[in-house]
Symmetry: C2
Subunit: 372 residues, 2 copies
Amino acid sequence: MRFLHTADWHIGKKLHGFDLTAEQDTAYQQIRQLAIDEQVDAVVIAGDLYDRAIPNEKSVTQLDDMLIDLNLKNHLPVLAISGNHDSATRLRTGSRWFQATNYYLNTKLSQALTPVEFDDTQFFLLPYFEPFEARKYFEDDRIRTAEAGMIKLVAAMEAKFDPAKKHVLVAHFFAAGSEHVDSETQVMVGGLNAIPVDLLAPFDYVALGHLHGKDALHAERVRYSGSPVKFSVSEATQQKGVWIVDTEPFKVTFKPLTPQRDVRVLEADFATLTDPEFYQQQQQDDYLAIRLTDKRVIPNVMQALREIYPNIIELERADGPVVTDTAAAQIDPTLDPMTLMTKFFEQTTDSDMTPQQVAWAEQALTTANKEE
Amino acid sequence: MRFLHTADWHIGKKLHGFDLTAEQDTAYQQIRQLAIDEQVDAVVIAGDLYDRAIPNEKSVTQLDDMLIDLNLKNHLPVLAISGNHDSATRLRTGSRWFQATNYYLNTKLSQALTPVEFDDTQFFLLPYFEPFEARKYFEDDRIRTAEAGMIKLVAAMEAKFDPAKKHVLVAHFFAAGSEHVDSETQVMVGGLNAIPVDLLAPFDYVALGHLHGKDALHAERVRYSGSPVKFSVSEATQQKGVWIVDTEPFKVTFKPLTPQRDVRVLEADFATLTDPEFYQQQQQDDYLAIRLTDKRVIPNVMQALREIYPNIIELERADGPVVTDTAAAQIDPTLDPMTLMTKFFEQTTDSDMTPQQVAWAEQALTTANKEE
């Protein structure tokens, strides 16, 4: 059995306000091509297919198109799970129909205990879960952490092991010892207790999702694939890619992916950065975190740099405070409240307010004003 | 060919704040049983499967379960389209996989021109569309109304007619001459020009969705099925049900559905309504619009009536103004603005605000207050 291991596609994610649709499509095309060229028997996607519980319509179409292409057009079996960023409920719509073409998408803890069998291998597809789900499933009040839940789950999976076969776990959690990066927010990792790698020893391979770097763990048979695209400055030095895994004899090979626009840190002084001899050697449209080494005040520095480097995602003094942050969430305080609320609504739901909702929002603002 | 024609399930809809999940499940069970008992070859659902573009997770699960039951467990072919209440994009996720088990869900105008063929019949499944979609599809700038789009569409469908077969159109629009009821809001019907029934003459049968009463049109071969459940007081006197349609020889039979709790108008004076001899003869837990014939002031009238009739959805004086409206959307002006906004957000997205969203909302309200 040979499979491709990827995870954390985060369809819909933005990079400091920049749309990553084309970047994610480019990565997907390479993954699909690798799967074909390497003649894999299946593609494993270890959670966080979407970036959020209610993806916008564009993201819904993008992911649907990718999976149609992978599974229906290229006839590649797909083994996938929901991650903490996905809404398990929304993701599973229609999944009962997918199995007919060997596309297995598990979103419920209970599904993990019915292995999907391919060739010489049993795949246990365990979606992201909260401790209370394991507590409820096993009817065991002592389960208060993901680790405690995992102890029970691994035992239950071992009971299903066919000794004649290899055993692969696909899961989405924070494994002990893993490095941590910015684009997985503290909130998410905080809500998810670490799982000790030792616990996963019964498996021939564990295909993990959750952390975005392939080197987050240092275990031969327990690996994060990392995300196919760089989602934050802290991922700038990571080599993105996928694992090609052979079960017999066991072998793991890394296959790199090439970005359209890289995420890079660029440290230099203003004179260098604006010197044609320097910048003409640069991929000027990369997503750049610029570390400015100057100490002096430079007027309109961002504007000047943006004329040369259109996709600046951070600008800091190399040894000082942040000069400007281009985060999309920054609030323009000159906007009137109704406009702010409309933008907020659009950003949250990806749709316009209905007349009734507008009336409601206006009522809320009027009440707020009256209280002054 | 024999099929069952239903429409306007509106999964997720509430009736004046009352949850209709159980009511809709009951109606679904009857539809499924009718399909089995009548040995239909297919179930046609003519749009508005959901009540809104972003249904909550409970609604997503409810509809998915119904379709799994209908198509995968009971092996009934399903022919469905998206309506104006559905998000075509969200609804079509996974639909490419559904076709393998004869579940056809069309959400794009272009799909309507590839008929689905069953037995002796060609089904043209036309989802709800806006005039601009027809304009774009036909590359014809003169198309400014749904009627103009429909003229082109019908001609294009006729070009695909197999003369040896019957031709059925499944569509979701406002057909000329139809009666209009409250629970289809003015906004929706306003955005949708009427389609003259004459235009639909080429078809052997037109299975419509959009209006909620089966008697909205008076044409033998162009019919609304109506919704399976009463969604407003204006639908109180409608008999809900489905059509069983035979194509050869042509025959249409109405099959009624029985509600768990009916929606009824109850007109009487207070003394009668609170008289055990009267109310013990009533289905007290029906959804009631009470028309009070008294002229005098009655203290705590709503409270007194609710003790006997728990599901009052309207209370009016028979010949006067509304006494109380229990509409869920009513705004409590004593709530503070942040609470109002939080409720608004929850109602709209069915999820809690993230800390960043709370910060943003608070910023908007602070700005609003400052402007005073």
